[in-house]
Amino acid sequence: MLATGGASQVEGAGGGGLATWAMITGYGSRDGIGANTHFTYVGLSDFSLKSYGFAIGLHDRLELSYARQAFDTEDAGITLGLGQNFKFNQDIYGIKLRLVGDAVHDQDTWLPQISVGVQHKRADRGQVIRLIGGRSDRGTDFYAAASKLFLSESLLVNATLRATKANQFGLLGFGGDRENGYSATYEASAAYLLNKHLALGAEYRTKPDNLSFARENAAYSLFASVFPNKHISMTLAYVDLGDIALHPDQRGIYASLQAGF
């Protein structure tokens, strides 16, 4: 009905840039199989992040996703003693199950679409992760997401509750010397549909703060998404990921290109 079928969040699941949605990815998944691929670049004050991946939606019920993230320390790698352009990478395998509701068509009830999901993350650089106080280079997030399109108001709203041990999404490992258990974090986002081809919105996502060597803050973004047709979307955002690895106020641009069917 609208351009809600094909967007991926930074960990590869169907969603916005930072926030996970309850929707199952892929325009065609209601009748069988839908799919979506993404490439995302985030340019911050001292670091950059690239992510690519894909998601497959099955019968508007189940979503399988994969994403590969590369976090580049650029020049900051030198001051951190890791070497210029030292990279932290991780693979993320996701599965999402729609439990109830239809975010788009159920316009006559207040019930949102509700899904639950798991993201298994495998970071490389286990040695460095342990040196900075991280406990593991592997971790698994569990989340529940609720999404609702208020079509008469042209407004899409999402809320997600997540249990995670991830440091900086998992790129700096899982658990730490300050806190090693699961933290309850949340993601909230809203998008206003200006017309058939343009949405403006905002996202907010909290993160754990497990490592004593450097504080970790919540992230937010202000975004514009363009949908030239139902198979392609582009998102441009201003993103603030807070402090990362002793480098304060990591802000910059988020650019994502997505294609799906």
Binding site: R30, D31, V104, H105, S152, S154, L193, L200, Y204
Partner: protein
């Protein structure tokens, strides 16, 4: 934590401003309904004409109308839009489930129909926010129309 809270407040504030900037309040006339926003009976008849043109020209769904009496279809659709949007009509056609059960429609057929309706609303110069108000009333019919 204070920092995170103030950022959250900032994000929400910017978002609210963005929504308000783009919010075009409808004129507060007496009897102001979606029906009047669609141009009353005249506007709805025009929309139904345009939409039906689009349906019949779309190879994805035109077969669906092979056995349809188009004049009657237009009349009932206009009646339905009129009643749904708060106009002075009573829909006298079949209920949505009965009207579609033999057609074995899939979700993609419903989506194609919505896309055509959006094109027709655009051609009738109906503002996007008004389009969405009508679509919000039609979307729950997905339940009765899609049987495959």
């Amino acid at each position: 934590m204070y920092d995170a809270m103030s950022k959250a407040v900032l994000v929400v504030a910017v978002f609210v401003v963005a929504v308000m900037v783009n919010f075009r309040p409808a004129p507060a006339l007496a009897g102001d309904t979606l029906y009047t926003a669609l141009g009353g009976n005249e506007g709805i008849v025009r929309l139904v004409d345009k939409a039906t043109e689009e349906f019949l020209a779309d190879p994805r769904i035109s077969n669906t109308f092979a056995d349809t009496n188009i004049a009657r279809f237009k009349e009932k659709l206009a009646e339905q839009f009129c009643e749904l949007s708060g106009g002075p009509c009573v829909y006298s056609g079949q209920d949505m489930h009965a009207a579609h059960k033999g057609l074995k429609l899939r979700s993609r057929d419903f989506s194609a129909l919505v896309e055509n309706l959006q094109v027709a609303m655009g051609k009738c110069d109906i503002p996007f926010s008004t389009q969405n108000k009508l679509l919000a009333l039609l979307a729950p019919m997905h339940r009765d129309v899609v049987t495959q």
